[in-house]
């Protein structure tokens, strides 16, 4: 919880209660329950088609919920029309009005809602300053770069003074470098709203870098919600374990009925035949290829139990000296290994 939440009394928490959406026989979202505090940024993370955009559209009121409730502060907004929810949504495509200048894009909504012209002018100037768009106010969207369009879309949402702020993959149309630059700036702006923020993304880095908590969705079902660290260290199931972390976790079936999850960065290498320490386990493997990533080396190995990825610092002389085809031992501390039920995928605390 941030200071913003304490100072802004008019904004309440967002509560989803068993929210669901079904279209025909397809269950797009199943019984989603979540709470997001004012000033908190929650990332909805998942592969495409997992239900994250569905959730956003339900919250915005663009699609009706089939079951469950949406509470914002003290109000039940499940059936409230989109315009009356006080919800702002930044679309993935930005959805700027192409025939209007930046300034008119921002002012159209407030004007037609009947806001006083002086007030609109003041608000727009504030937002243009905040987003550094003053010089571009007379340009049309076609004359803006992707990052500038994103800022205009953000500005349009901010002008609403939303009680709930929604963002649908706002970075996905930007190049990787710009994305990283904008992350901190965006986080700062989103927090300043003081309303619950829901940020939909399929990019785990963005989710980890921006959000206070991450909710992982898969096939319309909530898999886990928690801080990035919780999700990384104690994933609820093998899907979450596999979705977070880059390179992704190794999932090996070393014992029947059990999947062992090993993070590539927690694995060590030893010469073939070396015996592991008493707290460690070891697996014989053969190097297939090696990727040099600057400060680190990513090694792809094959073992009797399937392929393995190992991440080592570039300074690891053993890893750096290996040739493809070389045999070696992969070792890890037993405490680092994550155990999953092979059938359900649920994580099991090692006994």
């Amino acid at each position: 919880m941030t200071a913003a939440a304490n100072t802004n009394g008019s904004k309440g928490a967002l509560k989803l209660q068993q929210l669901g959406r079904r279209v025909g026989r397809q269950q797009l979202l199943e019984s989603l329950s979540l709470t997001v505090q004012p000033g908190e940024i929650l990332a909805l993370l998942g592969p495409s088609g997992c239900g994250k955009s569905t959730t956003l559209r339900l919250l915005a009121g663009l699609d009706p919920a089939s079951s469950g409730q949406i509470l914002l502060g003290d109000d039940d907004i499940t059936a409230t029309p989109p315009a009356d929810r006080g919800v702002a949504l930044v679309f993935q495509s930005y959805a700027l009005y192409p025939h209007l200048s930046v300034e008119r894009n921002l002012s159209l909504g407030p004007e037609l809602r009947g806001t006083r012209p002086e007030l609109i002018k003041e608000d727009i100037n504030r937002v243009l300053d905040l987003l550094q768009l003053q010089d571009l106010r007379h340009r049309k969207p076609a004359g803006l770069s992707g990052g500038q369009r994103q800022r205009v879309a953000l500005g349009r949402a901010l002008l609403r003074r939303p009680r709930l702020m929604l963002l649908d993959e706002p970075m996905s149309n930007l190049d990787a470098k710009l994305r990283e630059e904008l992350r901190a700036e965006l986080q700062h702006i989103l927090r300043s709203i003081g309303a619950p923020v829901i940020y939909v993304t399929h990019d785990q880095h963005e989710a980890m870098g921006l959000a206070d908590r991450i909710a992982v969705l898969e096939r319309g079902q909530l898999q886990q919600v928690g801080s990035a660290e919780e999700l990384y260290r104690r994933p609820a199931n093998s899907f979450v374990a596999g979705f977070l972390g880059n390179p992704s976790i190794n999932l090996l079936s070393l014992r029947p009925g059990l999947l062992i999850g090993l993070r590539p960065e927690q694995l060590r290498l030893a010469p073939a035949g070396a015996t592991p320490a008493s707290t460690e386990t070891s697996l014989n493997a053969q190097l297939t290829t090696r990727e040099w990533l600057g400060d680190r080396l990513l090694l792809h190995l094959s073992s009797a139990n399937g392929p393995l990825k190992v991440m080592r610092p570039s300074s690891d002389t053993l890893a750096a000296g290996l040739q493809p085809g070389a045999h070696l031992e992969v070792q890890w501390s037993r405490g680092d290994a994550l155990c999953f039920d092979a059938r359900s995928g649920e994580r099991i605390e090692p006994s």
Partner: protein, 264 residues
């Protein structure tokens, strides 16, 4: 060279009409280089009773009112169809397409009967009723396609901003459809401008005639000669407003306003 041929191919008949309209009737069958020039055809047309510009004005009034009326009905209709489910819209569109393809000449007797019964004859604005009816199918199909081309997020964004249905249409959708509306209007206007059988049967007072029946009367003025010069002059005068209209609308039709609406 190819381009020049193409231009000649399309402009040739018009230039020939222009040439004919300035030549004395007697010289039209002789050597095209002899006989000099004349303004008599134009003088006859514009000095007639009623003067020829009256017909242009009548056609303009009918064309404009029909176009406006068609748009007023077709825009909401196309919007509704574009927001309906694909299946329903397709079924409706099949009916609309059948109506669009129906040879309207077959209707004119029935329409004449209607005009008599409802006392709609000799009334320029009443003439826009059948014209609107006949133009609607095509206009609905054209505008619907253009509504579907507008990304749905644009309207959703406007909805979230609190814009009502009419506000969204007025401030977001219609400006983006300007090119489609311009081309649809032009097609409707052209149809009204050229329409003959209904105008011929619905209008009998000389001062209310539209262009097409008025031109037919030039032919009927003399039994023994074909007034080529008069025809040509009337054709030239009748095309000028259309050419102006096309030139004005041209930019609208060509301009791609939706550029940059979505992604880069």
């Amino acid at each position: 060279m190819n381009r020049l041929l193409l231009i000649l191919w399309s402009l040739g008949p018009m230039l020939w009409q222009l040439y004919t309209s300035f030549r004395p009737n007697a010289t039209l069958t002789g050597n095209p280089m002899q006989g000099g020039w004349t303004l008599e055809h134009y003088q006859a047309l514009l000095g007639g009773n009623p003067p020829f510009w009256r017909y242009l004005l009548n056609s303009g009034v009918v064309g404009l009112s029909s176009t406006l009326l068609t748009l007023v009905v077709a825009v909401p209709c196309a919007y509704g169809l574009s927001r309906l489910g694909r299946k329903t819209a397709r079924n409706v569109n099949v009916l609309v397409a059948i109506a669009a393809a129906f040879p309207y000449v077959l209707l004119f007797l029935a329409l004449l009967q209607l005009a008599r019964d409802l006392h709609l004859g000799n009334n320029l604005l009443a003439l826009s009723l059948p014209y609107t009816g006949l133009s609607l199918p095509l206009a609905i199909l054209l505008l619907q396609a253009s509504f579907r081309d507008i990304p749905p997020e644009l309207e959703e964004a406007a909805r979230l901003e609190g814009l009502g249905l009419w506000q969204r249409l007025r401030w977001v959708l219609l400006p983006l459809m300007a090119p489609a509306i311009a081309s649809a209007s032009l097609l409707i206007f052209l149809f009204c401008w050229n329409e003959y059988p209904i105008a011929l049967t619905w209008l009998s007072r000389a001062d209310l005639l539209t262009l097409a029946p008025a031109m037919a009367r030039i032919a009927g003025a003399s039994v023994f000669t074909v007034p080529y010069g008069g025809f040509a002059a009337a054709t030239v005068l009748g095309s000028i407003p259309l050419i102006v209209l096309v030139l004005v609308f041209q930019r609208q039709i060509v301009s791609g306003l939706t550029q940059g609406a979505i992604k880069g």
